[in-house]
Amino acid sequence: MHIQLSHPPRTVDIKGPKRAKDLLRELNLVVEAHLVIRGDELVTEDEMLYDQDHIEIRPVISGG
């Protein structure tokens, strides 16, 4: 699946299917600091993500 990340902006490809929380763990990202968006909907960490899904992992921390 195609995953879009920020800080710095980049995309990575990871093999599915996979639960959102396992995806975060694999990318070494803390749940409390990120949200997982599939297409244009927000999904919970137990959601199963598939190869054809378009995923954005959005950091929630902002500075300044």
């Binding site: 409390e32 960490e45 929630v60 902002s62």
Partner: protein
């Protein structure tokens, strides 16, 4: 995972509340947290006019959105600091929200451009006065918001500080035992005398994650990147540490900050002496007339320094 309230499919899980919510129940939850904050900290009443400090980030736009939907009379102020690229993009987000949503509630967006007034952008100003940019930026924003709130006769000024901001700041103050700052940290800062607007933080019961989720679920387009000047700021480190603790042990952030507020309530004398002390040592700045403890306020000092340097 299903919504704890209505059993529909959940959009977000909230471990600190042992809950998961669908969009509609989550909206209800966030609004409810803001109502609780406003009431319990005596922030403002229905008839008050509120000026929201907006930056184009998720927190301030979500705050404006929530206040409008709750029926509060709230306008917004954007201070354009002229940070190359960033200011332009953030102003676009604010404008787009103002036109698409806020205008429908009869709310107004005020824009104040620092460059027009002082003849320099934040990067130039900061280089001229040799101060870390975040503190320069903080000084300018605080000054501009306060002055606008007073001049435009708003009853109260609201900022988008969330639970993470407040917990990170508290952690920083505790780690360095900055007791003077500890006294001044709270969701409501009263107007201590003429010339200082009352300041409130209606989002202190909501986390960054919840506010980002709110913005996403409500189609609020906000600026996701941090300010390029803020990178490496100490606050970000404190936030990361708190988020790791929160993930391992949900509720840590709220226990930490709300616990602090509870303790503060037990010692109200501290806050009243603070107001008295402010009354005693504040007087109008000899240059601009805004209240300050010195002869010339920190904003005017900053601008004076910037001007001397740019002439030499």
């Amino acid at each position: 995972m299903n919504c704890t309230k209505c059993k529909m499919k959940a959009a977000i899980k909230l471990p600190r509340h042992h809950a998961a919510f669908c969009k509609s129940c989550f909206t209800h939850f966030t609004h409810d947290q803001v109502v609780k904050a406003v009431k319990s900290q005596q922030m403002f009443r229905k008839e008050d006019r509120i000026l929201v400090a907006v930056s184009g980030g998720k927190d301030s736009l979500a705050l404006w959105d929530i206040l409008l939907k709750l029926g509060y009379r709230s306008d917004a102020l954007y201070v354009n600091l002229g940070i190359a690229g960033y200011s332009h993009r953030s102003l676009d987000k604010v404008r787009s929200y103002a036109d698409k949503t806020a205008a429908g509630y009869g709310a107004t967006l005020h824009i104040h451009t620092v460059e027009q007034e002082e003849g320099a952008g934040i990067r130039e100003l900061s280089m001229l006065v040799h101060r870390p940019t975040c503190s320069t930026c903080g000084t300018i924003k605080r000054y501009q918001f306060n002055r606008a709130a007073i001049e435009k006769q708003y009853d109260v000024m609201a900022t988008g500080h969330n639970l993470d901001d407040e917990a990170a700041r508290l952690l920083g103050n505790v780690l360095h035992w900055q007791e003077e700052y500890l006294e001044k940290q709270g969701p409501t800062l009263p107007a201590s005398l003429d010339g200082f607007a009352k300041k409130v933080k209606p989002l202190y019961r909501l986390t960054e994650r919840e506010l980002a989720a709110y913005a996403i679920l409500h189609g609020i387009d906000y600026i996701v990147d941090e300010c390029p000047m803020a990178q490496g700021a100490r606050t970000l480190l404190y936030k990361e540490v708190l988020n790791r603790l929160e993930t391992e042990s949900p509720g840590t952030k709220q226990n930490f900050y709300w616990g602090f507020l509870e303790k503060q309530k037990v010692k109200p004398s501290v806050r009243s002496t603070m107001a008295e002390r402010d009354q005693a040592c504040l007087h109008p700045c000899s240059t601009c007339g805004q209240p300050t403890t010195a002869d010339v306020c920190s904003y005017c000092k900053l601008m004076a320094k910037a001007k001397t340097h740019s002439m030499s």
